[in-house]
């Protein structure tokens, strides 16, 4: 049995940690790209990023002032029993971190613009559930999702008379060029192919947080498409912050789903270099394992 108190404790740790500390694989990827850059301007941006990441971690302060809107992936094992209210536990965690760290108060009513000041309300924090019938744990991923990159997301419908990987490559290339420096490159690109409109965008969002960053989809056809898009967008020279350079994206992750015979929806999402997220699993016996940040240890 997992108590709501334990979920709140873990979610608080995760959300606080996500806002302040980049996952190790992401910072390694940024350091790698810094080595590859030749232009002094691109190097200056990447150096500023690397320094800023270190300062934020050391001081335990948010990495970026846009601490986004709270988004949680929750994967539920069906043999898990929860005592208490999981959603309230996560909501409490968000309010606590917002007040204590503090985070910027970003959540407003979409029509009146009223701000609760707690980063909760009207369905926020957003929780995306998945069910895993075979497991005896819940997996929680906490994401303070910044909106400079989120607001560059899009959905396109490709007709099946085309070569689909070719069409997808074109569409992503277009989006990256049109977005330029606005989504804070180097970005991670998430692409969701197939399913319905919402499936495609959901897969695209999930793809952004693939761990480790830059790892390939197990299907070789999809992996090949990831490589093809990666090479195409990184040869544009848009570079960090859109001021020129070799590193426009850190990684391209593609996820797929079965699709209609006439048209294929393609969701395209961006994540800025500050790919902040933190993940843990809580077992039915109360054991906790933190998966993305070794400094959080085990409980």
């Amino acid at each position: 049995m997992i108590t709501a108190e334990l979920i709140e404790e873990v979610a608080t740790k995760l959300f606080r940690n996500a806002a302040t500390t980049l996952p190790e694989d992401v910072i390694e990827k940024i350091k790698e790209s810094h080595k590859n850059e030749m232009s002094p301007i691109a190097k200056a941006h990447l150096e500023a990023i690397i320094k800023s990441v270190e300062i934020a971690k050391k001081r335990g302060k948010p990495l970026c002032q846009d601490t986004g809107i709270p988004y949680f992936f929750v994967k539920m094992g069906l043999s898990v029993r929860i005592q208490g209210d999981l959603e309230k536990a996560i909501s409490n965690a968000v309010m606590k971190v917002t007040k204590e760290l503090p985070l910027r108060e970003n959540v407003i009513h979409p029509l009146t613009k009223a701000n609760t000041g707690t980063n909760t309300g009207w369905g926020v924090p957003h929780i995306h559930y998945e069910v895993d019938p075979s497991s005896d744990f819940i997996e929680i991923t906490a994401i303070p999702k910044g909106f400079g990159s989120e607001a560059k997301s899009s959905l396109v419908w490709i007709t099946t008379s085309h070569d689909i990987p070719e069409a997808i490559t074109r569409c992503v290339l277009d989006q990256v060029v049109a977005a330029g420096g606005d989504p804070c490159p180097p970005t991670i690109i998430g692409v969701g192919v197939g399913g319905f409109a919402d499936t495609a965008l959901n897969l695209a969002k999930k793809a952004l947080f693939r761990n480790p960053i830059g790892s390939h989809h197990p299907d070789p056809l999809v992996a090949e498409l990831e490589d093809r898009i990666f090479k195409a967008v990184n040869s544009t020279g848009i570079g960090p912050m859109g001021t020129g350079g070799e590193t426009t994206v850190l990684a391209v992750h593609v996820e797929i789903s079965g699709s209609h015979t006439a048209v294929v929806p393609v969701g395209i999402t961006f994540q800025c270099w500050a790919a902040r997220y933190s993940k843990a699993v809580i077992y039915n016996n109360g054991e906790v394992r933190y998966l993305t940040h070794s400094e959080l240890g085990e409980k």
Binding site: C64, R104, T169, C171, A178, R228
Partner: protein, 221 residues
């Protein structure tokens, strides 16, 4: 080749007119933060011939919505970094004209109105590294004043004293040059080659919906 330049406020025309796109700048002195609602209010007041409660002449505006908390009687900057400046192209250009602002700090692209205002009134746009808010916050020595706190913490005008705030890349200079425009022009000339290499046909219509011209920039179709 870009040069490193250290600037102090108040900023003179001579200070900014020697800057070229790609130069790396560090700022010491006073900066004023401003976002969407601050622009709206400032411009409304100026159009009604009202005086702003702060003086932007020869000053530096920062497109920034910081996280700030009150500690005892003082304001403490938790983190402060730039927000996307493309939202303010027209608004900030208008402010440059009406106030005599010399430097604008932000991130990403600023459009043609700002390029024109920079040239006409002698102002520059400086591009910071988006997301590196902890680094920039480290350069803030003190919050001197706050105005319009009724707009909320991110939207208020925070007057901060900074020491070597940077690195900031000159994105728009006083000669009418834009670094991001230059970069994107180079990208555009390479597009055919990139498309060929990645097996993509730029003349094809791949997308059924939305109608293709609405995706991305029309230039590329």
């Amino acid at each position: 080749m870009s040069k490193e330049v250290y600037i102090q406020t108040p900023v003179s025309f001579e200070d900014v007119s020697s800057l070229e796109i790609g130069d790396i700048v560090y700022i010491t002195g006073r900066v004023y933060t401003m976002r969407d609602m601050g622009h709206e209010r400032a411009l409304k007041m100026l159009k009604n011939k009202e005086k702003l409660p702060f003086d932007l002449k020869n000053g530096i505006l920062w497109h920034c919505g910081p996280i700030i908390r009150q500690k005892d009687d003082k304001w403490e900057v938790v983190v402060a970094g730039s927000t996307s400046s493309s939202r303010f192209t027209q608004l900030t250009a208008e402010l440059v004209k009406l106030t005599g602002l010399r430097c604008v700090v932000g991130k990403g692209n600023m459009g043609a109105e700002m390029v024109n205002a920079g040239k006409r009134y002698g102002a520059v746009y400086l591009i910071s590294t988006g997301g590196a808010a902890s680094l920039y916050a480290n350069s803030v020595e003190e919050v001197e004043e706050v105005h319009w706190l009724d707009l909320g913490m991110p939207e208020a005008i925070w007057v901060m004293r900074v020491n070597e705030l940077g690195p900031l890349i000159v994105g728009i200079d006083t000669q009418g040059n834009s670094l991001t425009n230059k970069t994107m022009a180079e990208v555009t000339t390479k597009l055919n080659q990139i498309a060929r290499k990645s097996g993509v046909d730029l003349s094809k219509t791949y997308v059924w919906w939305p109608k293709q011209k609405t995706i991305g920039s029309e230039k590329f179709y």
